[in-house]
């Protein structure tokens, strides 16, 4: 029994370990791409917990990402080692989500989406104006991590892949747990969920906290990886939109969909969009926002199947 649970949970880590061994000796470009993939996969999986499984389309990913990045940056500048800095990033984001949750998780559907959209803007302004700690608009540098066994790129490849594996395991665990059942009920009919005894506030808050924990950790690793961050970079609205797009590509609400979606998105980004003009990202963001706000019945309509079934849903809509 224990083995039946433990084995699948260990699998993502095993896969990631093999991937790391194979990738760590390749050239810098591949390593950077693989690190970005780990980051995207972890963010998409994390978003999927609140946005997909619970059906609360959060646009606050950039907020928790940026918060995690800044917590790490400040902590490391005060002398905290990398691991402590990243840990604090996760804890800070999770705590913030817990507090924020009671304020915005009672809003449903598009109202929640709109409220969550504002959080990153507020944090960016705060970061901008709190110059003495954050460096303000000038940004902040991070010390280089001390590494012995690994090179810098290898270290962050390992870290991002590890977070992707952890987010996968967490998603699998949630999927089989009471929490997962509660979240699926909430996504499909929140009123009915309450009437059968689901403590919906508690379930939503946990989903938001776990999701934000991973986003904060990713933000912390990202800041350490790039060694310089500024508010426009880490609180960038694109950070909120990309994970949604990945989940949409791979299948909203499914456990592994976001991983596939992250891969597909990265391919598109590398092959198609890299050389196109900046405003394409803006158009894409607008598209996703409109999709979330105006898709009849919300994102749960395309649960588990992804964008391929969109035409069918539009046809079915009244």
């Amino acid at each position: 029994m224990m083995l039946r649970i433990a084995l699948p949970l260990a699998l993502p880590f095993a896969i990631v370990a093999v991937a790391f061994v194979l990738l760590s000796q390749t050239d810098a470009y591949i390593i950077r791409l693989a690190t970005t993939f780990g980051m995207y996969a972890a963010l998409a999986l994390a978003w999927n917990i609140i946005g997909g499984i619970a059906g609360y389309p959060s646009f606050a990913t950039a907020a928790f990402f940026g918060l995690g990045a800044y917590v790490t940056a400040v902590a490391q500048n005060l002398g905290a080692p990398l691991l402590v800095g990243v840990g604090l990033a996760g804890a800070g984001a999770a705590l913030f989500a817990g507090l924020l949750g009671s304020a915005i998780l009672h809003l449903r559907g598009k109202y929640f989406a709109i409220a969550s959209l504002v959080i990153a803007e507020v944090l960016r302004e705060l970061t901008n104006s709190w110059t003495s700690v954050t460096g303000g608009g000038m940004g902040i540098n991070l010390p280089l991590a001390k590494t012995t066994l690994l090179t810098q790129p290898q270290l962050y490849l390992a870290a991002m892949l590890f977070l992707a594996a952890a987010a996968t395991s967490a998603s699998m665990l949630i999927d089989r747990s009471r929490l997962g059942v509660a979240l699926r009920c909430i996504a499909q009919n929140e009123d009915a969920a309450q009437i059968i005894g689901v403590d919906t506030r508690m379930a939503k808050t946990w989903a938001f906290v776990i999701s934000s924990l991973f986003i904060g950790l990713v933000g912390g690793v990202y800041a350490s990886w790039v060694t310089y961050i500024d508010p426009t970079d880490v609180y960038d609205g694109a950070m909120s939109v990309k994970p949604i797009l990945m989940a949409l590509l791979g299948g909203v609400g499914s456990v592994f969909g976001p991983v596939l979606g992250a891969f597909a998105y990265l391919l598109l980004e590398e092959l198609l969009w890299r050389n196109l003009l900046e405003f394409h990202a803006g158009i894409l963001g607008l598209l996703v926002v409109l999709l979330v706000l105006f898709l009849p019945g919300g994102l749960s309509q395309i649960r588990g199947v992804g964008l391929v079934s969109l035409p069918k849903i539009w046809r079915r809509a009244p």
């Binding site: 747990s177 699926r184 009920c185 009915a192 969920a193 059968i196 649960r303």
Partner: protein, 250 residues
Amino acid sequence: MTALLELKGVTKRFRGLEALSDINLSLKSGEIVGLIGPNGAGKTTLVNVITGVHTADAGSITFNGAPIAHMRRDRIARLGVARTFQVVQPFPAMTVLENVTAAALFGGGAASIAEARDAAAHHLAFCGLTDQAGKPAANLTLAGRKRLELAKSLALRPKLLMLDEVNAGLNPAEVDAALELITRIAAQGATILLIEHLMKVVTRTARRLVVLHHGKLIADGPVASVLSDETVVEAYLGRRYAERMAGAGI
């Protein structure tokens, strides 16, 4: 006997409209009570107020000794208050079995998902839904979805079960099947508040009848005396019905 559910002076207003006015109602443990009244009388609102879907503007509601008028819906459900929705509320993308499993897990107090699934299978069998267990709830017929509502409420192991027009929209054969199921549920000993349009369902299951009209409780007593009550006849049943009932010796 002490009351399982006690409403005192319960009032609910929607903007100008008084949907419930000063309702006093007491249900004893194990009782089966029919609740009738014309469309818009406030029957569903009464259920909504008891289950916490709406909060009463005035009055007190006590369930099993606990004040529940301002309690959260999920806590009221876990105390043992279950209801079916007049407009069915399934989890559409889940299977029939998963729907009932969720109810057994949260409201029914099952210790694990496996235990909840066993309980759910039992309730599906009781409601005649076993061969539909693997279907998505969205694919059920209306009669099937009404049965699913029943199975979900039974999975909460309720002390009080409120059935809001579970027969509305069913054909006569389906009504007979549902009536048979309601009778079997009643035999299990839960307190039942049965909201019904069809008199034959009410008269066959309930001993006591309560009548709502324009948000006011205008009659409460044994079925026969309520059905011959002047006010009730005027307000709801109409002369011809009363004469027919009198002729049939009810």
